[in-house]
Symmetry: C2
Subunit: 152 residues, 2 copies
């Protein structure tokens, strides 16, 4: 079974976000072994470069398998293409790690360490909502690949 | 105060979706008069054309002011550009209506009735999550326009 890791900066503060994420985590458990790692936000450091540096350093310690960085400025895929891409990648890798950076993004080391970068939207979303969007798209991908009726 | 209408097909079934949407509705009340109209899904009609036709007919009865259709295949804007565009539109219109179609989309009558179409992503999201994404981006737009620190 494919291992899917999410490495995220920041936790889900509100109950509704945790519940909504938990719903997709539960559904995903039928298709993959999902691990979510929440790293601490470093906003207390004050300076943007320090925050990005420290958060990126932490992220780098947890990158395993094929690494996909979620990056607003990168290429976009349709849900169908994301699904077939996930299928391709999972044929060559038993583990995929998705990275969601903090409010100020990640540094070049993380960008270079990523096997690829994908964007979900030109718009910026808060990290709690983005995590749910990512979980939903991974779940949707598995349902597309397995011919389930969830998609549409 | 600007009136923002959301015309949606389908309701929010899960408590976490309702709670998350309610959070943004509450925050938006500081910036606009928000009305959310939930139209009934017509999936019981079985045939896709019948469903789209009936849902579109209902939508057409509720289009007021400047109409923005959310459509996956249309142009995308960054959050900043969405905000400045919203500011432009609201100078010429006291009411903006956003339309979120049902699972099978809307017909050409609705597309023609819309003043414009925008896309949030090449990916397809479920309607409950998409409604939250739209509410969040409208809220984000107001915070950008009002120089609040929410956006980054």
């Amino acid at each position: 079974m494919l291992t899917v890791n999410l490495v995220c900066v920041g936790n889900l503060k509100e109950k509704f976000s945790r519940d909504m994420a938990a719903e997709y985590e539960k559904r995903l458990s039928a298709f993959c072994k999902l691990n979510i790692l929440e790293l601490k936000e470093q906003n207390h450091l004050g300076d943007e470069n320090l925050i990005v540096g420290k958060e990126s350093e932490e992220i780098l310690q947890h990158l395993k398998g094929f690494v996909v960085l979620c990056d607003v400025a990168s290429k976009q895929l349709s849900s169908e293409n994301f699904a077939s891409h996930l299928a391709d990648v999972s044929q060559r890798n038993s583990c995929i790690t998705f990275v969601i950076g903090g409010s100020f993004g990640v540094n070049d080391k993380v960008k270079r360490a990523a096997n690829e970068k994908i964007s979900f939207s030109q718009m910026t979303f808060p990290h709690n909502l983005f995590r749910i969007m990512l979980l939903e798209q991974i779940y949707r991908a598995f349902t597309i690949l397995n011919g389930k009726t969830y998609h549409k």
